[in-house]
Assembly symmetry: C2
Homo-oligomer: 231 residues x 2
């Protein structure tokens, strides 16, 4: 029985954790979306109490885990999605961390100046940043992952690991935020999109995607669709 | 015998690795600074050949490791700076990853739009971003680490781990880039500055800091001193 503590109205970083929990059929509570949820102040108090910096937080018994890639590594080890071999485990974590780095860029493209400013107050700067993100950064990351998948379609050890769920979520988010750009770019990355389809078809994930548990993408999350930033 | 592969003219992310190697008195070659260094094209070819995304890269025998926090975790495990206990090891890695996140913000404050643009071409945007970084983000991170150190001055297990070297380097870089701001803020964080002094006094680190092996901070690196961004 796990507890996931994350903001209740966005996919955000919590979604990377939810995908693993749902795929595994794990028994978990999405605490801030439950009937007893107490909102933002309770989250800040929880961070203070546990000594963690930011959500998502995973609670497993008496143990608290944070930093999204470390949560994925931790859960994966318990549900067959983290390699046992030390080198392979490090490789999966490395790639999941790299996707987390890309996620920061996918956020900062619409918030180049500060999280505290509204989008509308940094829209001009976002318009200047977006072309470089679309034309340079997206291809740099997608090319890299495309090549790693060129063998058997897996990143590590010939089998599915948590990195594949992270890439699935990146592909989903990028399609939402940059539909024109990704429609243009994706044909160059057939291994990446095939992986996306394979993860989406896993029974636990497919059931989750069709459920109301999955929060729709929206303009409060990390991936936001602002047409002026798309191609 | 390790090989470190990193850009030869900046401290950058490579410095976090150098500090651990120097503290441990490890036998290593800083390849791109050596007599046989081949420059940028050779680095790009190496990334292609090894399947890694970006430097720094550490070579240990036949094994290549990248993503700075994972290099530190890896080296620490071999030189007494990574806890053996699984939960403590995850905690050290979590905090080192959090400092790596802060490092991105310390870079993006002077490059809010794109790595490919010169500073001068995004100076106006940097001027808009800097106050939020100085007044909100720096205190948020420093307060957090200050509190974690409030007990015995260590992050994990009552002893020194790789996270402390990362925080040392952050303090050093922030002093260089934001001398006025940090002179104003640092008195509020005595545990952080005491840790900085303790790491600086370790024999391997002290010898390194006094040597020519340590590249001076400069305006090509991650931490840059632009007076107009300081208070």
């Amino acid at each position: 029985m796990y507890e996931l503590h994350y903001w209740p109205t966005i996919q955000g970083r919590g979604e990377f954790v939810r995908l693993i929990l749902e795929d595994a059929g794990a028994d978990y509570t999405d605490v801030m979306r439950g009937p007893d949820a107490e909102g933002r102040e309770a989250m800040l108090a929880l961070l203070e109490q546990t000594g963690h910096f930011a959500p998502p937080l995973l609670k497993d018994g008496d143990r608290w885990v944070s930093q999204t890639p470390l949560i994925l590594d931790y859960l994966g080890a318990r549900h067959g999605l983290t390699p046992n071999d030390e080198d392979e485990r490090r490789e999966a974590l490395r790639l999941t961390m790299l996707l987390a780095d890309f996620l920061i860029e996918a956020h900062d493209v619409h918030h180049p100046l500060a999280k505290e400013f509204f989008y509308e107050d940094q829209r001009d700067e976002a318009l200047r940043r977006a072309p470089s993100f679309r034309d340079t950064r997206i291809p740099k990351f997608y090319v890299y992952f495309e090549r790693l998948l060129a063998g058997d379609g897996h990143f590590v050890g010939g089998t599915t690991c948590h990195t594949e769920f992270s890439l699935f979520q990146i592909v989903e988010g990028m399609r939402y935020a940059f539909p024109n750009t990704m429609a243009r770019l994706e044909p160059d990355y057939p291994n990446v999109t095939a992986l996306r389809d394979r993860i989406a078809a896993r029974p636990g994930v497919a059931a989750y995607l069709a459920s109301e548990r999955r929060i729709p993408f929206n303009e409060h999350g990390i991936f936001r669709h602002y047409p002026e930033l798309d191609a």
